[in-house]
Amino acid sequence: MTCQQLVELVTAYFDDALDQAAREDFDRHVALCPGCLAYLEQMRTTIRLSHDLDTLERQPDVTALLSEFRDWQRTSSG
């Protein structure tokens, strides 16, 4: 497995979707290759930062939704 091939398999690796031979190949390569180790770390950091985006989210305005909910409540219980 070359570095160029490895970078295409990172998501499959993280999702445990590689067959056993490919997985072993991948692990062996990363153990010996500082470039791919750094790349793998960068991908992990990217995923972590994406997950942190919820700190930027603006909470929705619920005023209109609440009145819709109350309408629904009335009709569904009536």
Binding site: Q4, C33, T46, S50, D54, E68
Partner: protein
């Protein structure tokens, strides 16, 4: 709208809220709105042109969910069902906006390499297909750089710039943290397709982050 037939593994994380919602509990409804509103807004924006229209679509999806709640049988999780209602409405609305080229069809190129070809040694190199120069370890960057709001804004911008399908998948998988099964279910994708889209999306966001972090 009909429920997906593919049941995701594991229990519904919103099972308790669902029971309360069915009992007409307003707090349960608000909890769901706070939990999934932001993600729905992001997904809606991949189909329509403006945040205001996306907001309307999201609102419309919540109302649609309430009206269809009687018919929800729990063959999928509540949130994947909700997402399907949303995508459906957003798609319809996007089509009505009558754009000549919808966002979501722009440059969804499956053959695009994860890392630019020039970053690797050619066939005449010492190690063909090996790195020409190793990527930098981000561990060596100052920690405050990685934690800075500006870095997150960079990630946000990169994600919002992705083609629609890639964006929907990365938002659900990485931003919201849903499982691969749920994402396949919510967006009607095969596992293979889901993985390709996610990989393209992550690779692009990583590249944009690299560009940002390593610019002097």
């Amino acid at each position: 709208m009909s429920e997906p037939t593919l049941a995701p593994t594991g229990a519904d994380p919103d099972a308790e809220l669902l029971v309360r919602l069915r009992g007409g509990d307003e707090a349960a409804f608000l909890a769901l709105v706070h939990k999934y509103g932001p993600v729905m807004q992001r997904v809606a924006l991949t189909y329509v042109r403006t945040p205001a229209v996306a907001e309307e679509v999201v609102q419309d999806a919540w109302v649609g969910m309430l009206k269809a709640l009687d018919r929800f049988e729990g063959r999928s999780t509540l949130r994947t069902w909700l997402l399907r209602i949303l995508s459906n409405r957003a798609q319809t609305r996007g089509a009505l906006e009558a754009r000549s080229v919808p966002f979501s069809s722009l440059t969804d190129d499956d053959d695009e390499p994860s890392v630019e070809t020039e970053r690797f040694q050619g066939p005449d190199g010492r190690f063909p297909g090996g790195w020409a120069a190793f990527p930098t370890s981000w561990e060596s960057l100052p920690e405050e750089r990685m934690l800075a709001r500006e870095t997150l804004v960079q990630v946000d911008t990169a994600i919002r710039g992705l083609p629609g399908r890639q964006q929907q998948v990365i938002v659900l998988r990485d931003v919201a943290g849903w499982s691969a099964d749920e994402v396949c279910d919510a967006l009607s994708l095969t596992p293979e397709n889901q993985r390709v889209l996610l990989h393209r999306a992550r690779s692009r966001v990583r590249a944009s982050l690299e560009h940002y972090l390593e610019a002097a």
